[in-house]
């Protein structure tokens, strides 16, 4: 019985140590750019912020985010200062970098920005419905 308890305590200690190690492994990050979403047709709101982690990796984080749910919606960076609500990226052959499929139409979410992305050029985040080439909403990123 005593032995059993000892094993349990040792295991608990080990697990809490691992938890501590995990927490301290999470590094601080610095805000580089931020901007608010606008989009009337598809009612898009919230904030887009680019963080740089201590190892140099760039992360786009959406907070207080809301847009309309739809098919084939992606988060993209576009090479523009901002995008009109009815912007047509195909017609204007706007350069895009895909960050991934939109994880949810509501709530906080993170997207990795590929290494070497020039954020002086790709200055706007767009919630982009690929199937209908529709810009649901855009956030112009400005220096923080």
């Amino acid at each position: 019985m005593l032995r059993y308890m000892q094993t349990r305590i040792a295991l608990a200690l080990l697990l809490s140590l691992m938890g501590f190690a995990y927490a301290s492994a999470q590094e601080k990050a610095q805000i580089l750019f931020t901007g608010a979403f606008h989009g009337k047709v598809h009612n898009t709101s919230g904030r887009a912020t680019v963080y740089q982690e201590s190892d140099g990796r760039l992360v786009l984080r959406l907070t207080k985010f809301k847009t309309s749910n739809g098919p084939d919606v992606h988060v993209v960076l576009i090479a523009a200062k901002d995008a009109d609500d009815d912007a047509n990226f195909l017609k204007n052959s706007t350069e895009k970098i895909k960050l991934g499929a939109l994880k949810g139409n509501e709530g906080d979410q993170n997207y990795d920005i590929p290494k070497g992305t020039d954020l002086q050029k790709f200055q706007t985040v767009s919630i982009y419905c690929e199937r209908f080439n529709a810009n649901f909403g855009a956030a112009p990123l400005k220096k923080f």
């Binding site: 601080k28 931020t34 982690e53 992360v59 907070t63 749910n69 139409n105 906080d108 923080f144």
Partner: protein, 166 residues
């Protein structure tokens, strides 16, 4: 005519149903109309540690002849402070930093000379670069949503920023 149409419809009923099925499926796939009613909520935590750091709660960019950014941070102990970054204002010796309502700024800008009824945070420490100001407890930033750089002596607004929630 109507009779002939209904007879034709009756005859090819199964064929019509079979033919329209893929069209309906295709339309559903393209438009996903059920998504109009169904929300997909996510709640990812920040992928980095934010504990112990001042948290940005409001931010805005200066407009007018002034450029730069103002951000209001909340310290872990609950105290709030205002930080100006990359500030550039046209050289002025008597510039004050004020918090006020943005509708008052809009009205004040229409007038040539004006006085503001907000909260004076004191003389601007410097007209270039980064600087911090402690916010007094009653600074109600949902009401006082404008940060103004204001020359009290000549009553002009040198620049202002609208605070948006971070």
């Amino acid at each position: 005519m109507a009779n002939r149409l209904s007879a034709w419809l009756a005859r090819y009923k199964l064929v019509l149903i079979a033919a329209s099925l893929p069209i309906l499926v295709g339309l559903w796939w393209a438009f996903r109309p059920e998504k109009l009613w169904i929300n997909q909520t996510v709640n990812e935590p920040a992928p980095f540690d934010t504990s112990g750091e001042p948290e940005p709660i409001f931010t805005g960019q200066f407009q007018g002849k002034t450029s730069g950014r103002v951000t209001v941070f909340k310290k872990p102990n609950g105290k709030e402070y205002l930080r100006l970054r990359d500030l550039t204002i046209p050289g002025d010796a008597d510039a004050h930093l004020e918090l006020t309502r943005s509708d008052e700024v809009n009205q004040a800008q229409a007038a040539a000379k004006t006085s503001l009824h907000g909260l004076d945070l004191g003389l601007l420490k410097t007209n270039q670069g980064d600087q911090n100001y402690d916010l007094p407890a009653p600074a109600d930033l949902t009401k006082n949503d404008a940060v103004v750089i204001y020359n009290q002596r000549i009553g002009t607004i040198l620049g202002w920023a609208k605070l948006e929630p971070f």
